[in-house]
Each structure stands twice: as C-alpha cells, then as structure tokens.
Subunit: 564 residues, 2 copies
C-alpha cells in the first residue's frame, strides 16, 4: 500500500506515525509546505515571551528523526497543489527548485490545517503587522521585537492566542493594548466568566478595548497607526492579528471534495471524505457537535491528534472506528489566571434553540484551612428536563484545569448533573475539599432541578419592580463594604428571628457573597410561608464582576492615543 | 419530627445541616463525645507540622455557629452510651457533670466514626506514644514535641497518616524513622507504585524500615526504646502509632443492630440499618465495593460527606436515594510527591479472584517544551474481556491529582479503557500535552487488548530462560548509563537495519526507558516475522524503581540503634 499525507503537523504527523505502527511495509510519504514538521504550535507565544528559551524545544520531531524512526518519506517545503481523485494522484511542487511532480496513492490523508484570517483592511500588509501560526511567523515576530526596540504592542482579537500573546508581550516589558470587536474576551465562554478574566487582564495594566473594531493601519516610520471605529487612533510598534483562523480547504475544494455547512471539509464518522480513498483530519474538517448536533470546526490540537489515530486505523483496517466529535474543551493561561470551557456556552445553546438552565458556584481550589487555596468560579449549563450537562466554564487561579477535565469527561459521556454528585474525587487538604467544586456544582444544580433552590441571574437585577424586596443575607460588615443598590440587609443567621419584618406577599430576591447562605435563607423563608423567593446564582461576587466590567465598556481607557 | 444524630464530624455534621435545609421545623439534636464538631481531621498532621499555623483554622464549624445558622441543638462532650430501639430512645452522659439522661427520637442517625488501632504490645501506653485522630491527640502531640525538645521520631505504620506525619515531623527538623510490617508503604497501592514513593522518602533522609514489626516499648527517662522483631532496638523521643483504624460499632452492636462481614455497621442502599428508624453514615458503616462486590469499610472524608447528604434525603423524604458505594479514591502528599489510587489495586483484584491486565505508563505532567513538566507514573488495571477499568494508581510530582480525578470519574461510571481514549481534556502547554497521560494510558491498554502490544512485567525478568533474548532498544548512551543485566543493545532507530542479527525462533523481550520505543520495536519485529516478542510494561524506569527498592528490603539502614 502507498499512503500519502498532506500536512505534517498535529493531525498529519499523528496519522503517519500510527500508519507505520499498523503497517510496517507500506510506503508512506508525508508532504509539508512549511519548513518544519510536528512543531509545537501551542508553544509559539511562549517562545516569543521567552518562557521557552530554547528554540529547539519547539520541534517535537524533525524530518530526519521522523524518517529514521518511522521509515516515512518526509518532504518538507513541498506543497501539494492538486489532487486528481480519479487517477489517484497528487501534484506537488518543491519550493526550493520549482520542480513539479506527481505521486500516486492508494489512500490519501489531508491534514491541511487552518490559516489566520487577515481582513482586507487598508494598510494591513504593512511591515510590523503579524499573524502567528507557524515557526516562520514566530521567528519574524521575535526578531522584529528585538531589533526594532519595540515598546508598544496592539493585539487585535481577544481570543486564546490574543490573550496568550498579551501576556507574553507584557512579560517582555511591552505596553499592550488588546482590541476586541465584541463585548467580551474569549468568545467561546459566556460573559460572566469572561468578566473575571477581563478584570484580571486590566489589573495587569494591559489596555483592553472591547466593542471596538479596527478600520485600518497607517505606517509612519517605524510606527503603525491603528485606526479604530470610534475615531481614535492608537500608535503601535508592533501589531498582532489574532482575529481567528479559517480552514484551509482550497485543495479539497479544487479536487471536488464535498465541503460542509460550516465550510470545512466534510467527512463521515470514519473521517473519510466524499471520496472513499481520501480521508481528512485536523482543523480543516467539520463534524457534528455532540452537544448541539450542529456542524462545526474545531481548531484544537487534542482532537487533531486523536483523529490521527482513528483515521490511521480506518485507513489500514477498514472503516471500523468512528470519531464521535469534539465538545470543544479548551483552556488558556491568562497571566496568573486559568480559564477554560468544555461543551457549549449558554449563549450558543440559546442560539441553537437548546433549552437549558445555568448555575454558577464559587469554591476554593482546596481546603480553606490548608495554605494557598484560591477561589474559582464555575458556570455550568444543563437541560431542565433530565439535567444532562451541556457545558462547564471555569475561571480561577489553581486547580481549574483539573475540574475542567472532570467536567469534560462527564459531558463527553452525555452524563447529567446527578452524576456530578456521585463523582468520587481524590481528597487530601492540598488538593481539594471533602466536597469537590465539581460535587458542589452538581449539588446546586440538583437543588435547582428539584425546586429546592430557585435562582435568578445578575442581569435580572435591573428588571426588579418597585415593591420587590432585595435582601442581602451576608453579615453587616460585608453589606457595608459594598452591596447591590436597593438591597436591605438581614444576615442569614438573624433571619429566623426577623421573619416578621418581611411581607409575605412580596417577591423576595436574596443574595449572599457566593450563593450558599442565600440558598439557606431561601430554604428558611420558603418553609415559613414565603412563596415567591429566589436566590442570586453566583451571588454578589458574580454581580460585581459582571457589572464592573459592563461599566468599563463605556469608559475610554486608552493612554497612547494619537488623536481622537 | 425529632432527629437525633450521634457524632458531629464529617458524616454527622453533613447529615444535620442537610436535615435542616430539608425540614426547617424539625427538632434536631446532635451529640458529640469530643469537644469539637466538624473539625478538619485531614488537616491535623499539617497543624502539627506548622504548615497550618492558626489552630482556629482546624474548626470548620463551632458548636455555637452551627446552632446559630442551622438551629440545631449541638451537645458536645456528651456521649451517647446506649440505644433502645424499641422505645426509640437514646441514653446520653454529659461528661462535665456525669449527668445521665434519655432522649426520644423519631429517626436516629449514627455517625460514630472509627478509632485508631492500638495493639496490646508491652509498654504501648507509655508517655510519648501517640495516636492521631482528633484535636485532643493533636494538641497532645504538638505540646509534647515542643516541650520535650524532641529530636527523634518513630512512626509505626506507613499508611497515609503515617507518611503525612513523617513529612511533617521531618519538616519540624526531627530525625524520622518509619516502620512498616509489610514490604511497601501505602498498602492500598501496588508495589511498583509504592516503590517510587519509597525512593522519594529515602531521598529525604527519612529512615524507612519495611518488613519490620514492633514487639514492644520501654520508657527510659524521656526516651522510648522501640523493640523490633529482628532484635534491634530503636531509640525515640516520640512515637506515633498509625497502624490503622477500626469502625466504632460498639453502640450499634449493643443496640442489636446488624453488623456486616467487614465488621462495620450493616446498612442497605439507603444507608438504613437493620432497624428502619436508625440510619448510619461514615467510617463505621460497611458497603459493597462496586469493583469487587465485596463488603468493605471506607475511611475517607469524601464518601462520609456525600453519605450525609443522601442519608438526610432518605430520612426526610423516605428511602428515595441510593448510595452506590465508594471506589476508595484516595491521595496523599509525600514531601514533593503526590501519590494516589482509585478503584481496586491489582493485588486486591487478584485476592478477590478478578481477572485483570495491568499496564504502566510514564508521561509528563504537561508539554515537555513548556518549563516545569514532571514525569508521572500511571498504573491501570482493566478486564481482559471488555477493558473495563478497575483501578488507576499514580505517583508523580505535578498534575497527579488531576489525572486521578479523571480516572475516578471513569471507574465510578463503570467505563472502559476505550473511553479513556476519547477523553477530551483541556490542553494548553502549561496544563497537559495534546495527548493527555489519561489518553496515553488508554491507548496502551487498547493496544494490549487488541494484541498490537504484548507486554511482560518487571518481576518476570528473573524468570527469563537461557536462550531468551533481552533487547534494550534505547540509545547506546542510555544503555551504557545503566541497563538490565543480560540485555543487549539495539536502538530502535537501528532495528530495521539489524533484523538479521536477531534469531527468529527465540523468545524476545524488549525494553526501553518508558515503554514507547519498545512498543514501536515490537511492531517492527512482529511485522517482520518475529512472533514471540513482548515489551516491558513501564520500561526500565519501573524495573529500576522496583528492583532498587526490593534490594533495600534486605539492607539495614537504621542509624540510631541502641543494640542489635
């Protein structure tokens, strides 16, 4: 058999290595248009930021070592320009010499990846404006920053790469501004979770411009003027475009392979394209989201690697192994914070017409009595009918990745919030509490589903009507240090003695710091004949973070404006 | 309704709080023979070691605060001495006054916990010999260590508490010896995993005496002579007995409640004892292990807390919620290491007659190119028929708790190694690799189940026969730095060119450092007509740790012998 693979990074390299392990005697050729195979694409921002100091560490495999170990014909700097599915050939061009040649295949695997979006803005091709996708980009950026004595960076797009680069530029001593078109960072998470991240970014003196678009660039000497849609112009030494990526489907489309609704390469459950002898993996394919059942493209290294293994099995052994899709589990370090998501955010569930309930809890990363515990915020979404878990999003400082992985395991298996309750975690004081934050999220969700807890949300406060009662059940000192306007204070520990102060016919909205005391207050009230009682999900902590960030949206914070 | 709860630590306090949330108007009395309720029992070693500096942090709840918040009648230092199930009364004695009185109940919940084992050895009640179970023990030990200018500690029993105390005594500057009757530390894990922990403990200059029993104690002035079964005598200033605990079933037995096969209080799936009006939770109850289906007792805070919640639901709402048992997920910090287990160890599976396969893998805690990655060792056990996961044990330095929690989620749900492959973890370089160690464990297990990988084990090396071939497929420099006696060296990258050197009829045993290169070498050989090939599970790393530790068993390492 002769296998040809197009693209030698995550998905392609994984497929190739697995093909060899399954078939020692096959001829395997892997084409890569770039200079490097299997490089650490997720490590590139950290090499720029000098967290990774040795450039050689970026190369998980070299072409020579890969060839030596797997007996695979690795052809770097060679671009596949065409596929002829009926003849089962590909056309390749060797970049160094311009030589064009054909290769036959028995089975072809496409792993072309994605490419950064570069909108057609005026001046976007000026020197000093970069995207970051591969080693060449990285080398360009790093040498530019070093040689041009760069001090001010503008990052366009507050997604994962944008935020990682904000941190790494900042750690190099640059003054960093991040510009984002929508009203929050990290589009895959919901606003409340993003609001914690935004506060943290701002606390690091990174300038964050939300609800802001770039209209063009003007190069003036070594400086770049970045024009914004509000008329302002920022001055930058370096600009990073991290607006997003799109699947590289050109080759597939030219060959007549079917593309899907999400404009990725269509594949069946066996990762086989519309041509039975051509398979595809990685960032360029689209697949049904197991939560929303909508077509989607996932730009993540984990799924690409796992697809490679499945694809190789199906290519060699026949279509025996199905890929079950990705739930978009993703995580990012943002300075001292970790924030991540698994499953489908509430806003996207709403957009997909999927009925769901949201619940937010705050817990310590480990037992409070053991030093170093940090608070994390967990937001989950689940179905009202059977409690099936649809997503979890977490922002915090320690142990976030752990809880996210546990939630991912439950969501991937289609499990419910009731299963979270039975999660039996590893507990000792340095690692967790007797009840893990995952358990706590499950407990609260179950209380909601069984109507032991009725909740309302931070953005419903402003809809409270005259005559509604808003009760802060924290201690007086907490109340006095800051509260939600309009709230009266009845500490939960006094509530049983002060029931007579509360009119039974009113709608009662309760909140405490995190949600636990409010829940207890609500239990006391409802069992004493108060029937219209709800507790603020996520408590004062969440309301404070969301409203503080919402107020920032209308505040100009830029400090290096050219003119306005 | 009137509820009485006996025991106010983890299980009892959880039950009481939940009872109140479910039933605002019930009368709830909780009896506690000790001085404190709901204290941080898992934090006690760390308070002695001054990691936790403030004694007040040990108290999750005080009696007064618990009463204030939950309107529960908390009676500390009051011991329940008898139950009269037919009259539905209990007898209590108030320790301060000696007053004896009765209380009636509608429902009674027992949470008596467990008590430390104190074997009847000569001199065991001498001053300076302690157990550690509650705040009083803690205060005793702490003041004794401070006042007696203690420099040498002997810890008897290398279980979780014993190892935590070894670390904490060591951190106080004490010279520490740990004595353990069996051939390894941490009885719930298998020997190979324990061997890594033992190496680490020894590297900290803690003296570890395995296969050693204590025969008695002699107090001489402020010193304690600890006599061992090999005739040696160690001199100690302080001795901690951490041999184990047993369930406190006295009250239940006296009341005629059924005890089970494991000598705990028998309960049905609703945590109800043989008397329908009496429930029980925590360390004193026994339950069916979901993996082995044998009766067992779990001495863990997590299950106790979760049982409390379930028990309260069943007491108030009728028997609606079943407890599904514990898979014994446990974790311990041992100096810089973290080691833990979930499910049932291989040795216990063997003892229970459960057929299983063991596989060991070593992986980095996160991407190798990002600074700070540490290796961890994962041993899993699974059924040969359908790959159902039976246990996972991990020893490492970072990210161990995370992987243990993920494995726990799969084991708890009865999932298989095939599910591990599909685990979609949160990946960014600071947190994991594109393929998580959990995925890797699944990949390798699947390869074994599908006969793509045949393995042998570290303790089978000595059973190799003359004529068998042992091949080290690492690089020459690795081979020369240390190898398994009898091995020849053929690096995997040279293997395809040196196949002619290997006789086809021989049994071939391959090993590499961790197992990956050996797997690849095995694929090459088997696809080239070599049929009797196996790869060392866990590789040279595991063999080295196990054999080094095995050799230590016959080496005397004590350094403060009195006489021999």
């Amino acid at each position: 058999m002769k296998y040809i693979i197009v693209g030698a990074v995550a998905g392609g390299a994984s497929t190739a290595a697995r093909l060899r392990r399954l078939d020692e005697h096959a001829e395997i050729i892997i084409f890569e248009k770039g200079e490097y195979i299997s490089f650490a694409n997720c490590g590139l921002p950290y090499y720029i930021g000098e967290v990774i100091k040795d450039r050689n560490k970026l190369f998980v495999q070299t072409a020579a070592a890969f060839n030596q170990r797997f007996n695979i014909d690795v052809r770097v700097q060679t671009e596949v320009t065409a596929i002829n599915p009926s003849a089962k050939t590909i056309t390749a061009i060797k970049q160094a010499t311009g030589e064009v040649y054909e290769e036959t295949y028995d089975k072809l695997i496409l792993s072309p990846g994605a490419e950064p979006v570069r909108p057609p803005l005026p001046g976007i091709n000026s020197e000093g404006i970069f995207t970051l996708r591969n080693v060449r980009d990285t080398d360009y950026i790093k040498s530019y920053v070093q040689q041009k004595h760069v001090t001010k960076a503008v990052i366009i797009g507050a997604g994962f790469i944008g935020l990682e680069m904000a941190e790494n530029f900042h750690d190099l001593g640059l003054d960093v501004t991040v510009i984002e078109m929508i009203d929050q960072v990290m589009a895959p998470v919901d606003y409340p979770v993003a609001s914690f991240v935004q506060q943290h970014i701002r606390s690091k003196k990174v300038h964050l411009r939300l609800n802001t678009a770039v209209t063009g660039f003007t190069k003036t000497g070594d400086k770049i003027e970045v024009a914004l849609n509000n008329g302002e112009v920022l001055l930058a030494d370096v600009v990073l475009l991290s607006i997003g990526v799109r699947p590289d489907t050109r080759l597939a489309a030219m060959a007549g392979l079917k593309l899907g609704q999400a404009k990725g390469i269509w594949v069946n459950e066996f990762l086989q394209t519309s041509d039975p002898d051509i398979y595809a993996v990685g960032d360029a394919i689209e697949f049904e989201n197991p939560v929303t059942h909508q077509s989607m493209i996932t730009y993540l290294a984990g799924p690409a690697n796992k697809q490679g293994r499945i694809c190789a099995d199906n290519v060699v052994l026949g279509n025996t192994r199905s890929y079950k899709g990705s739930i978009n589990t993703a995580i990012v370090k943002v300075f001292d914070m970790t924030v991540g998501t698994t499953g489908t955010a509430s806003k996207h569930l709403t957009a997909a017409g999927i009925e769901h309930i949201v619940s937010t809890t705050h817990n310590g990363s480990h037992a409070g009595y053991y030093p170093g515990a940090k608070q994390m915020t967990i937001q989950i979404a689940f179905t009202p009918k059977d409690g099936r878990l649809l997503s979890a999003q977490i922002a915090g400082y320690d142990g976030v990745d752990k809880r996210l992985d546990v939630f991912a395991s439950y969501i991937k298996q289609g499990k419910s919030v009731y299963d979270l309750i039975e999660f039996e975690h590893a507990y000792a004081p340095p690692y967790s509490s007797a009840k893990d934050p995952v358990n706590m999220a499950g407990f609260v969700a179950e209380n909601i589903l069984l109507d032991r807890l009725r909740v309302f949300y931070w953005n419903e406060i402003e809809q409270l009507k005259p005559g509604d009662l808003l009760i802060d059940v924290r201690r007086l000192d907490e109340y006095e240090a800051g509260n939600i306007p309009g709230a009266i204070n009845i500490p939960v520990d006094d509530l049983r003695n002060r029931l007579h102060e509360i009119p039974k016919e009113k709608r009662i909205y309760i909140y405490c710091e995190a949600g636990l005391r409010g829940y207890l207050a609500q239990r006391i009230l409802r069992q004493n004949g108060f029937n219209k009682v709800a507790n603020l999900s996520g408590g004062y902590i969440l309301w404070k973070a969301c409203t503080t960030e919402a107020n920032k949206l209308i505040t100009v914070t830029g400090d290096f404006l050219v003119h306005q």
